[in-house]
């Protein structure tokens, strides 16, 4: 056993050098040299100011912006998390109906059955950057009213901001909320 421990100690030392030092440093080096954004995340700038990361969702509560997914951690990007409410938990139903009420109050004319589920349920990470195209389209009348823009133009904008399924046929279509709202700001 003693000889195994001594061998093991040396082997551990080598494996630390390979997998804990060399491997991450190699990936880091390639990321720093070749990856857009240098491995620091895809930064989004507006008027010379860092306003977010493309892939990290942020909270939009103003009527003039498209709203994203509800978040159990209030879009805390330093502490991701979900509600973890079970399907039968009364708190889940309460939270969902409350969100529906808020949405219907801000979007008059939107029926309960017309609200896509992604606007009512909290995401897995609390930082979901996307909503479904449907969820963006149901908000168009509100934005049109607040911003005084024709709905057809906004619908076109949502269309342009929609990422189609991968290779046209794999997985759902998505709309990046931060990107959409940036484009929206640029329209004026």
């Amino acid at each position: 056993m003693k000889s195994h421990l001594w061998t093991g100690l040396k082997l551990t030392f080598i494996m630390v050098a390979v997998t804990m030092v060399a491997y991450p440093l190699f990936i880091r080096a390639v990321a720093a040299l070749a990856v857009p954004g240098h491995g620091n995340g895809q930064e989004v700038w507006k008027d010379g100011r860092l306003v977010g990361f493309r892939q990290v969702g942020q909270s939009f509560t103003w009527d003039r912006y498209f709203t994203g997914r509800p978040s159990a951690v209030n879009y805390n990007a330093a502490g991701s998390g979900a509600s973890n409410l079970g399907p039968l938990n009364p708190d889940l139903l309460r939270a969902v109906l409350q969100r529906a009420d808020t949405l219907m109050a801000h979007n008059p004319g939107l029926p309960l059955s017309g609200i896509p589920a992604d606007l009512l349920t909290a995401s897995g990470s609390g930082l979901d950057p996307d909503i479904s195209p449907q969820a963006a389209l149901v908000q168009v009348p509100r934005i049109a009213r607040v911003r005084n823009l024709p709905p057809s133009v906004l619908a076109g904008l949502v269309n342009r901001c929609t990422t189609p399924p991968l290779a046209g046929c794999l997985g759902p279509a998505t709309v990046n909320v931060l990107e959409l709202n940036l484009m929206l700001d640029r329209m004026k």
Partner: protein
């Protein structure tokens, strides 16, 4: 057919399509045949020399196990040390605090045992140094499992009695020839798709709407690659692969999902390239595939059909059950991941299992309770091997023949070991869960569970299933960072990691020492479909008999309340 379903099928199809050539390559690596990575052998030889390892020296099974346990003891001490001191060590730009002893114990055990149950949140609970130590554990724990598995392959297929090979050689080759090259490829693809790989700390910024927020980054890409490939599952961020920086789009999701199942499947294919094991490999593959599909199909069905409790209130079920899920994956691919990560002992999640429909949560628990429908890298096969021995024994008794497995007689000693190992898993899960329920009810320790009623019980049952299956996923609503859970989970993980490796290696070692019985008309064929069904029946009977009562108190009761 909608794009979600096509996506799921492409992911599953690609997994098996990629596992076949990988399996062939893996077999070549261990059988010492030439491969395109042979230019690495001078480096490996240099490592062997430094460590004093003679890679071609035969080790008996006891010596192999000593090597394995010695390494794990060293890693445990290293892990405890770093995690308890991380607050005052280097590479800690966010000034995260050191772990408490019980949390460090849980985390160290969890990572050396390939479980990766995380009672901390990566953003605030681990320094970058700790994360890198955990990356090291993710490599070596996976390599230990694969090395033990290859040992058993070797023992089963060798014609020379007692020839098992060398644990250190298997371990080294697993890292240099399999895990490291695959991880480099995957980590590079991930970082090109936007997964951070940086040593900078959190970025403070003001959002478009004017809120101040801090964004965690870190050397994530390196970890995520090995986390998926080594069936580790321990993510960089608290939300694991649901976090958009850990899994930014559908492509990364597909690749990570494939990586979860890739090596476990490839190892089964690899067995087929060992001498005379083609039929055996085929039988094992189809049994595992059947088990996987039996669990995956209902989970996908229920997640795509939404939550009836919400539908009754007038909410559209169109997108499926989206609570705890991300839009870019959709409900279907999230359910597929949920099953893939639990049938293998991976445990990374791209959606929150706590919010799954009751029966999809149950299929996930069943994946962990059976723990050999592909299973963890290496150890999945070892668990299956135990079931195979039991099946051989039972069928031998049924037809009145001496039970043999690949020409070796199964006798009382092997059967005793196999029975103990097969019963250990339900014993640990059920006893620990009973203890937790007792503690919860009698001592009124509140604040453990997020959900009331049946689902609260499921949270506790899931926690120990995950610990005992060395899985690492959780019903996240459980507040498990308490001394009770840290220590009890830690103990469960230790027993359920080491005994199910020691047992099969011991059996294989004992069998390898026996004379090969020539095949005759009286031999029970272990590569036939009939025997496959027999193994499946044994698995179902053991799992169903031991776990059905507990499952009916949790997910089954919840299902009938929900779908009343």
């Amino acid at each position: 057919m909608n794009t979600e379903m096509i996506g799921i099928m492409v992911i599953v199809g690609l997994t098996f399509a990629m596992a076949l050539p990988l399996g062939k390559y893996i077999a070549k690596v261990y059988l010492g045949q030439p491969t395109f990575l042979d230019f690495l052998s001078p480096i490996e030889n240099c490592f062997y020399k430094i460590c004093g390892i003679h890679p071609n020296r035969e080790m008996d099974w006891k010596s192999q196990l000593r090597a394995f346990l010695g390494l794990n003891l060293i890693w445990f001490l290293l892990g405890m040390g770093v995690l308890m001191l991380q607050g005052s060590l280097f590479l800690n730009p966010d000034h995260n605090p050191s772990m408490s002893p019980d949390l460090a114990f849980n985390t160290a055990v969890s990572f050396i045992s390939n479980t990766n149950l995380q009672h901390y949140s990566g953003e605030s609970g681990a320094s970058y140094l700790s994360q890198l130590v955990l990356v090291f554990f993710q490599f070596v724990s996976a390599a230990c499992g694969i090395a033990a598995c290859v040992l058993v392959f070797q023992a089963m297929t060798t014609r020379v009695a007692g020839k098992l090979g060398n644990f250190y050689r298997y371990f080294m080759l697993t890292i240099t020839r399999i895990l490291l090259p695959l991880s480099i490829v995957l980590a590079l693809i991930l970082s090109f798709r936007g997964v951070p790989m940086t040593f900078r700390g959190k970025q403070t910024l003001i959002t478009l709407q004017g809120d101040t927020t801090r964004v965690s980054r870190g050397p994530a890409a390196a970890m995520i690659a090995i986390q998926q490939l080594g069936t580790n599952g321990g993510g960089f961020y608290g939300a694991n692969a649901a976090h958009p920086l850990e899994n930014p789009d559908y492509l990364t999701n597909a690749l990570e999902c494939i990586s979860i199942l890739l090596i476990p499947v490839a190892l089964i294919f690899a067995l087929g390239f060992f001498p005379d094991a083609k039929g055996l490999s085929r039988m094992i593959f189809f049994v595992m595939l059947a088990g996987f599909l039996i669990l995956a199909v209902p989970a996908i069905y229920f997640e795509l059909h939404g939550n009836p409790a919400l539908t009754h209130s007038g909410i559209s079920p169109g997108q499926g059950n989206m609570e705890g899920k991300e839009v870019r994956f959709g409900a279907g691919a999230s359910a597929l991941w949920g099953v893939m990560t639990t049938v293998t002992s991976n445990g990374s999640v791209n959606s929150m299992h706590d919010s799954f429909m009751p029966l999809s949560g149950m299929t996930e628990m069943m994946g962990m309770m059976v723990n050999c429908f592909f299973g963890g890298v290496g150890v999945g096969f070892l668990n299956f091997y135990i079931y195979m021995i039991i099946a051989v024994f039972i069928s031998g008794l049924m037809v009145g023949r001496t039970p043999e497995l690949v020409g070796k007689k199964i006798e009382a000693r092997e059967m005793k070991i196999a029975s103990i190992i097969a019963l250990l898993h339900p014993f640990l899960i059920l006893c620990a869960a009973a203890l937790a329920v007792h503690a919860d009810l009698s001592r009124h320790i509140t604040g453990w569970l997020t959900n009331p009623g049946y689902h609260g019980f499921s949270e506790m049952l899931y926690e120990y299933s995950s610990a005992s299956a060395n899985n690492g996923s959780e019903f996240g609503g459980i507040n498990a960072n308490t001394p009770f859970w840290n220590i009890s989970d830690g103990m469960v993980m230790i027993f359920s990691r080491y005994l199910p490796i020691i047992g099969p290696v011991a059996i294989a070692g004992l069998l390898a020492g026996k004379k090969r019985v020539p095949e005759s008309a009286g031999t029970l064929r272990t590569d036939s479909g009939t025997f496959g069904l027999m193994v499946l029946a044994v698995i179902v009977i053991i799992a169903a008999l031991s776990f059905f009562p507990a499952l009916s108190l949790g997910p089954v009761a919840e299902h009938f309340t929900l779908y009343r």
